[in-house]
Symmetry: C2
């Protein structure tokens, strides 16, 4: 099992392939070679072939990949052929920003509810979706077939909310709180630690400056 | 040069070390062994030692690392001992959410200005920082020693704004627009493609479901 598992690095690259193939499809391109895709995406053709070989290679012939087929296959692998209902826990600026992303809907992610502990936010609506009190979270998740909880609350409350979520049938947490969650293995976690990303940027600024100084 | 360069994978892990060490420091812990740090962070001790060896090993002795020293050294490597001025381009929900993150300030990232093309947003304030018209962007960046531009605008406008930014003295773009930017090498780019992250989550949900079905 472990042996056949596809690495998270490969999985992490699939959405980018999906994005480029979607654009090619929209432009009416029917076939593309791994060379041309390589030039467009600025990754090596060998990397592309290796990545695709994890999924059987997608039937590339001498004359390249069929764009629409490849787009659909990668979408299917990413689970985008299914609908995923999600809730947002934390209706602050970030929660509301995510709630307003209509692109998620186009990919099959449907915003069903939002929750916040602040009484002044309860009753507010984001694209017609109501912000509810935290007490309603568990029953709402159960009654509305919710797959994904988006966690956009401060670090301090995140661990206890994650514990409550772990008691529900939720299948994944998209975690924006700046803390590592500890939940059962059946719950998939994807972290977006914004501060970490900003620090990486800061590192690269300073590395580049030092390189220039020593040239 | 290429040979000695530290991989982005290692760099990507530094902020997490920094976060855990900051928490240990706040708790008054003075020393920690790689074994204990390993248990806490759920990475192998060998990984930790390998990562740290990229920076000379941080003087670990038989009795472990000095927490405060390690915290400060990693902070310094990440460039957090310097101040970085930043602007946010795009004052929609996401831009405003990022503008409200006071934690960035604590790390030396100072919000100096915000820009938006919508007249109704111009003049608005986020934590006392004013939203300005897009026409003012270049001169503001020049006059205020801005290092980082945070790009929180839709995909459609992102490439042309990035081109305008490339004409300024900006050193980095933190890109939330769902498109790959094409800027000179001297400008560091860190992408936060939220849809990609959500698709990865979707993949992992479906992979887990399939694994359970075949058990």
């Amino acid at each position: 099992m472990e042996e056949k598992e596809i690495s998270q690095a490969v999985i992490g690259r699939l959405p980018r392939y999906f994005r480029y193939l979607g654009e090619l499809k929209d432009e009416g391109v029917e076939r593309i070679s791994s060379q041309d895709l390589s030039g467009l995406m600025k990754v090596t053709a060998s990397q592309i072939r290796q990545d695709f070989n994890n999924f059987g290679g997608f039937g590339q012939q001498g004359y390249g990949y069929n764009v629409e087929y490849l787009y659909n296959e990668i979408g299917r692998i990413l689970g985008l052929d299914r609908q995923h209902n999600y809730v947002i826990v934390g209706a602050g600026n970030l929660g509301r920003a995510l709630g307003n992303y209509i692109n998620f809907e186009r990919r099959g992610f449907i915003l069903c509810g939002m929750f916040d502990q602040k009484p002044e936010l309860v009753g507010m609506e984001v694209r017609g979706v109501r912000v509810m009190a935290m007490e309603e979270m568990e029953s709402f998740i159960r009654d509305n077939d919710i797959d994904i909880a988006v966690l956009t609350i401060p670090k301090a409350g995140a661990l206890s909310v994650a514990e409550r979520l772990a008691q529900t049938g939720i299948r994944a947490i998209w975690n924006f709180a700046h803390v590592d969650l500890n939940v059962p293995e059946r719950i998939q976690v994807e972290n977006v630690h914004l501060s970490d990303s900003l620090m990486k940027l800061s590192y690269n600024i300073n590395r580049y400056t030092k390189e220039q100084e020593t040239l």
